[in-house]
C-alpha cells in the first residue's frame, strides 16, 4: 500500500543527489509542485528525464539541480524557448548540463520497454536523421525475421518517477483522466513512484477501463491541490497561459530568474505558500 505523506517528506526520502528522475505529464498534469520541492531541498547532480522539458525543468535546471537532461522536445509550448535550459547548455550556467536527445516515439517506447522489463525499444524514426550521430544511445538492430534494420534505444528505468494526478483513494490507488501521456509507463518503469494528487477521496468512482494505477505500484501519495499549476488538471483547473508567457521574461535573464526563485521557491515553505506568494505578481 502506498504511503500517504507530505511532498516534503517524499522528496527528502526518495530523491537523492545524483538520482535519475523522470517527471512526466504531457503538457497536462505536470508535477510542478514536486519540481519546486526538489529545488527547495537543493538536490544536485540529477539526471532529469522528460519527453517535453518545459517550464518545470527550465526552473530546475536554472536552479542548478541537474547535470544531465534526456528529452525529445524542449520548448515553452506556444511561447518560445527555454532560456535557462539554453543558458545551461550553451554557457554552463549555473552548472554544465549534458544533453541526450531523442524523438517522442522513441522516448515513449523506451518507457514502455522499461515498464515491460525489456532491454530496449525498436522503431524506424531515425532513418536519415543526424540524431544518432550525437547520441550513442541510438543504435540499430536487425530483425531476425525480416532482416529489416531498425533503430534500438535502451529502456528507461528511472530511480524515481514523479507524476501528478487528479485523485487517489485512501489506499493510494490513483486515477488519471484526460490526456494521460506516458505516466503509466513512467511509473511502472521506475523503482520508486511519487504521485501528487489534487485530492484524496473515499471512492475513485473510476469507470471500467479508466487509467488507474493500483496502490501497490505507487510508493508515495502526496496531496497538493493545484500542484500541476501552471499546467492544467482536467476537471479541476485550466492551463495558466499568462504565467507561461511571463515565464519567457522571467527565465530570459539570470538575475531576474534568481530573484524569482529566491522569493517564490526558496522563500516559501511549500506549494500553498508559493501560490500565495505569486498571487498578483504575474
Amino acid at each position: 500500500m502506498a504511503k500517504i505523506i507530505s511532498l516534503k517528506e517524499a522528496i527528502h526520502e526518495y530523491v537523492k543527489d545524483g538520482s535519475v528522475i523522470a517527471m512526466e505529464g504531457f503538457t497536462h498534469l505536470i508535477p510542478f509542485a514536486a519540481g519546486h520541492e526538489i529545488i527547495r531541498q537543493r538536490k544536485k547532480n540529477l539526471t532529469l528525464i522528460r519527453m517535453t522539458p518545459d517550464l518545470i525543468y527550465d526552473q530546475m535546471i536554472g536552479a542548478g539541480c541537474a547535470s544531465k537532461l534526456i528529452f525529445s522536445w524542449g520548448g515553452n509550448p506556444g511561447v518560445g524557448s527555454l532560456h535557462r535550459f539554453r543558458d545551461a547548455v550553451q554557457s554552463g550556467w549555473p552548472v554544465p548540463l549534458k544533453i541526450e536527445e531523442h524523438g517522442h516515439a522513441d522516448m515513449a517506447s523506451r518507457y514502455q520497454a522499461g515498464a515491460s522489463g525489456m532491454p530496449f525499444a525498436v522503431l524506424r524514426g531515425y532513418i536519415g536523421s543526424d540524431l544518432p550521430k550525437y547520441n550513442s544511445n541510438i543504435k540499430s538492430v536487425t530483425c531476425p525475421f525480416t532482416g529489416e534494420k531498425l533503430a534500438a534505444t535502451p529502456a528507461i528505468n528511472p530511480d524515481v518517477t514523479v507524476i501528478h494526478a487528479q485523485k487517489a483513494d485512501k489506499k493510494g490507488n490513483i486515477l488519471i483522466q484526460g490526456i494521460i501521456g506516458v505516466q503509466k509507463e513512467a511509473v511502472l518503469a521506475s523503482k520508486i513512484a511519487i504521485v501528487t494528487v489534487e485530492e484524496i477521496v473515499d471512492d475513485l468512482n473510476a469507470p471500467v477501463n479508466a487509467c488507474v494505477l493500483p496502490h501497490w505500484v505507487v510508493t508515495a501519495v502526496c496531496v497538493v491541490p493545484g500542484g500541476a499549476h501552471p499546467s492544467y488538471a482536467h476537471g479541476y483547473y485550466e492551463r495558466d497561459n499568462v504565467f507561461c508567457r511571463n515565464w519567457d521574461l522571467i527565465g530570459r535573464e539570470r538575475e531576474k530568474f534568481q530573484e524569482w526563485i529566491d522569493k517564490h521557491i526558496y522563500g516559501t515553505a511549500d506549494f500553498s505558500e508559493f501560490k500565495k506568494s505569486i498571487q498578483g505578481e504575474l
Partner: protein
Amino acid sequence: MSELSYTPNEMMTVTAARNLKNGDVCFVGIGLPSAASNLARLIHAPEVVLIYESGTIGAKPHVLPLSIGDGELAETADTVVSVPEIFRYWLQGGRVKVGFLGAAQIDRFANINTTVIGPYENPKVRLPGAGGAPEIASSAQEVWIILKQSLRTFVSKLDFMTSAGHLTGGDSREKSGARGKGPTKVITDMGILEPDPMTKELVLTHIHPGVNVEDVKKATGWELKISPDLKVTTVPTAHELEVLRILNSNTAKKHGAVVTGD
C-alpha cells in the same frame, strides 16, 4: 470586382487547408499545421480526423491549441489514448494518411531540421528538437510541410537533419526502409512545391497570386526548378478568410495571443 485583402500567412494557411479532404486522417503538428487542418475541418472537411501526438484522436477544438496537449483537444476528441499508443498503433501502424509538419529549415529533397541552427555542439539557435517529427516523417502515408519561404528556411544544406524527407533524392528514400511516400507537398507563403517524380527534388508547381517566380527563386537557397506547368493558386474566398479570422480571434481571446506557429 474589388480584391480581397489578405496576408501571405493567410494565403498559406488557406492553401494548405484546401488540400485536406473530408475523411482524411491527419497527424497534426502544433502551429501552422494545426491552424490549416482546423480551417479545413470548419470549411469543407467536417469529417477530417485530426490526431495530435498527445493522444487525442478526432479532436475538434473550437479554438487553436496553444500546446499539443491542451484540454480542449481531449474534451472534443473521439477518444484519448496514451502517448505510446498514439505512436505505436496509430502512427507506426500506418493509419495516418497525412503527417502534417512545420520546420525551421528544409532542403531541396524536403528533409527537415527542427533541432539547431548552427553546429549541434555550439548552436547559434537551439530549437525545441525532434518531438514526434522523425517518426511521423517515416511512418505517415504521406507528409506535408508548411513553412514560410526565405533564404533562412530554404537552405542548400541543413544545419542538422532531424527528420527524413527524400534523403539524397531518387530512390534513396525507398531503399532506406522508411514507410510511406515521404513529403508530397511543401506549402509556403509563396506557393506550393512538390517533389519531381524521378529525382525527388522539390519543384515549384503552384505560385500564389501576386507573387512572381523571381521572388520565389530569390527566397530559395538552391537553384529552384519551376514546373513547366506552373499553376496559380486561387485567392482565399471571403468565407475562408472569415472563418480563419474568427478562429484566430477566438484563439486569441482564449489564450491571450494568436497562435499561428510562427
